[in-house]
Amino acid sequence: MALTFCLRGAAFAFAAALIAAPAFADGSQVAQVKTASGAASVMRDGKASAVKPGDALYEKDTLQTGADGSIGITFTDDSVLSLGPNSEAALSQYNFDSSNFKGTMLTDLRKGTASMVSGDIARSSPSAMKVRTPTATLAVRGTSFAIQVGQ
């Protein structure tokens, strides 16, 4: 039963990735910065730069906050991610097809605290939205949640 479920989930995710692949091949915007305070930056192509509300974010970007920092972003599927201080999160994989509301996303929370509210991608299949920490993986089915990595 569990195996069937996993296989079915994997098949869904694979199919969704195939279908939606062209949507992000051109490196289009995946999210926008909505809130930023204190030390808040984005690491892109090996270079870190400060972020401000309104900035566009792309797949593979890594968000970082300092001791007094926080940042909040909204993805194109309506998912929302916000980070507390001393945090780091990578937008490792993201693709979303706005014509059928399907896609997949994987966010890597490497340290600190994050809160998320899921959007259309989490509704498209049970394993479409994932958050990974150094020790575990979270699969999201339509909800609001928070994660802390380390103490």
Binding site: Q32, T74, D78, A122, F145
Partner: protein, 195 residues
């Protein structure tokens, strides 16, 4: 019996003395609906399916743990405070074969405008639609005109045009399924996403 209690105590203490690696908590959904997350550590899977259900990982192993709203605020307060205003969705309806809003939607336009206006930065998508009355190609153009009319009005009211995108879907995405050549007020609309 006593040795079993001692063993359990030892196991519990060992688990607690191992530093916590991760903490996962389901938060109450802003819209009141119920969702779930599953935490996988590679061996175990822990399902969290109600508000404040939580799991922690110690020594690479995920297990349920009790947390309350106060602890959540203490640990995640800054992250939650940085959360953007959640996206909102609106539908505005039009008079047949025109890009003029119905009287009711004229009123609701003000809600849309107010929702966008309260956001420090915003992205707006306006997608126009028609019913199935008339020619498909004409309806495609009409749906785009509807979206453009809303965009023009938002810009006239002071919003930034560069943050408002438009598209027309003609009669391809009916809100209410009908046969061809059917006048249906609920299909004559724009769908607006505000982020």
């Amino acid at each position: 019996m006593r040795w079993l209690a001692a063993l359990l105590l030892a196991a519990t203490l060992a688990a607690c003395s191992t530093p916590r690696q991760d903490l996962f908590v389901v938060l109450p959904n802003p819209d009141g609906s119920a969702g779930a997350v599953t935490v996988e550590d590679g061996k175990n899977s822990v399902l969290l399916d109600k508000p404040y259900a939580a799991s922690e990982v110690r020594g690479g192993t995920a297990a349920p743990v009790a947390v309350d709203a106060g602890q959540v605020q203490q640990i995640f307060g800054s992250a939650i405070a940085a959360r953007p205003i959640l996206p909102a969705h609106f539908r505005l309806y039009f008079i047949s074969d025109s890009d003029t809003l119905t009287p009711a939607s004229q009123q609701q336009y003000q809600d849309v405008f107010a929702d966008i206006k309260r956001r420090p930065v915003y992205e707006v998508e306006v997608i126009g639609h028609t019913d199935t009355l008339g020619d498909k190609t004409y309806n495609q153009q009409l749906s785009l005109r509807r979206a453009q009319a809303i965009r023009e009005r938002l810009v006239k009211d002071g919003l930034t045009g560069a943050s408002i995108s438009v598209a027309g879907r003609g009669q391809l995405d009916l809100a209410v399924k009908t046969a061809d050549q059917v006048s249906e007020p609920r299909n004559r609309r724009v769908e607006i996403t505000v982020r």
